[in-house]
Every structure is written in C-alpha cells, then in structure tokens.
C-alpha cells in the first residue's frame, strides 16, 4: 500500500493577496480606529499551494 506524502515547500503561489496598506479604506472607518486596520480592513483572499507528491512504499 502506498502512503502519499505531499511536499508543499517547493512552490507556493499566492494568487490574490490582500494588501492591507494599499486597500481601499473609507475615511470614516480609518478615522475611528486607525490602529485597527489590520483587523478590520482586509478582505478574504485566495491562496493556491502547489507541490509534488512522493510515494512511500509501505
């Protein structure tokens, strides 16, 4: 029986990365909690990870 092991370290693709600093911010939300941008401003983003699979014979 083959035991599959994934190696993720070779390639790491981040398709859409949320840029906290470059993101659209409304004046209101920024003024109210300027130091909270990292919690409140960013949006969900997708991350794609690709790697090769090695097979361990067991």
């Amino acid at each position: 029986m083959n035991d599959k092991k994934a190696i993720f370290s070779k390639e790491y693709v981040q398709e859409s990365k949320t840029a906290i600093d470059g993101e659209q911010k409304t004046q209101e939300s920024v003024d109210v909690k300027t130091d909270s941008a990292k919690y409140g401003i960013s949006k969900p983003s997708r991350i794609i990870i690709r790697g090769t699979v090695s097979y361990d014979k067991g």
Binding site: K4, F8, S29, S36, I41, P44, I47, R50
Partner: protein, 199 residues
C-alpha cells in the same frame, strides 16, 4: 454596541472571534502534483454550541480512556465577519472576484442592516478597546473548520469573545436563518376574494 470578553478560554468557545482563519476549498492531485486552494478569512466567529465545544475539549483532554468517542466533534461551525464599509459597497469578496449586491447605507436597506432586520446578516459594533471596525456576520457564508486546527490557532489568532447574551442573540438569528422556508410564488393562480369584497 456589543459586550465582549478578552479572556482566552483554553477551548474553542462559542462567540470566539479569530483572525486569519483558512478555509480549504479543495485539494486535488494529478500526475504527482498536488494543488490545494484555501481562502483566508481575516475574521471569523465561532457558531457551534458551547456545550458541544466544551464536551469535545473535555473528551480530548481526558487522560484516561473513555468507552466511546461520542462527544468528539469533527469540525467547528464558523461564519466570516466582513467590514461593514465593504458590505455597503458590495466589495467584501472582491479579492475572490465575487461581486456582492451593494447596500445603500443611507436608506432603508442600510438602516435595516444596522438594526439586524435582514436575516442573512448580523451587524456588530465593538467597544473602542477592541481592534475591530463595525462588522457584519454573513450567515450565508458559514463554513466548518477542523477543531484541532482552530484550537492551535487560538494561541496566536484569538481576538476576543462575544459575551453570552450577545452570542445567544447571534446563535438564535443564525438558527432562524438556517430554518427559513422559501415559499414559491404562485403568480398565475387566481386569488380568492376577500370576505365582504364587492365585485
């Protein structure tokens, strides 16, 4: 505004808010190459019932063997929090190339959102010492997360916990949202006359 607690319990608890939680969309393997896609949510809230979470933790922490694994949870139910400013603009999922319907903040739709009159959404305003801007829980976007993953994540990514009364309100509204019944519109059927209605 809601009341929150910053004390971190040892277990994943109902009403916990975490930052940077990953949702696995898929994992596929073809010709020796494996690809995984995940969505990273900046903020999520735990919706699973507190008693279930406590018993799961109790079971996992038990030093002696138990007869069954009856109380073990497979996953924790959570829902994302979106910045309300993004929700007004319909841009909360723009990084995923998903366009949402804008909500006019200055008219009835925006007021209804802030008064929690829209079943899909739950509006939250946090105290000044909590670093979260006014946000909206989107019940339609609920998903599940592995229990061990979330517990490990709690060490670094726990933000705060919604206090009991407010979390019960969220839980109640979420249950109502899930149990809503969509009725078909019978537009072609003749409507019966109302009592006393003259022809």
């Amino acid at each position: 505004m809601i009341k929150v607690n910053k004390d971190k319990l040892e277990w994943v608890s109902q009403g916990d808010i975490f930052k940077d939680v990953d949702y696995i969309e898929y994992v596929v393997e073809k010709d020796g190459v494996i690809e995984a896609s995940k969505i990273r949510f900046p903020l999520i809230i735990v919706l699973s019932q507190e008693c279930d979470l406590r018993y799961d933790f109790k079971f996992r922490s038990a030093k002696s063997e138990t007869k069954t694994q009856d109380k073990l949870l497979l996953s924790v139910l959570v829902a994302p929090l979106y910045n309300v400013e993004h929700v007004y603009a319909g841009e909360q999922l723009s990084e995923l190339n998903i366009i949402m319907e804008p909500i006019n903040r200055n008219k009835t739709p925006g007021e209804d959102l802030r008064k929690n009159l829209r079943p899909r959404y739950h509006y939250l305003e946090f105290p000044a010492d909590i670093p979260i801007v006014s946000s909206v829980i989107d019940f339609k976007h609920y998903f599940s997360v592995n229990v061990d993953y979330l517990r490990e994540l709690k060490k670094e990514n726990f933000v705060c916990k919604v206090s009991e009364l407010y979390r019960e309100d969220i839980s109640h509204r979420f249950a109502s949202f899930l149990s809503r019944i969509g009725l078909p519109e019978l537009a072609d059927q003749p409507v019966a006359e109302k009592p006393g209605q003259n022809k």
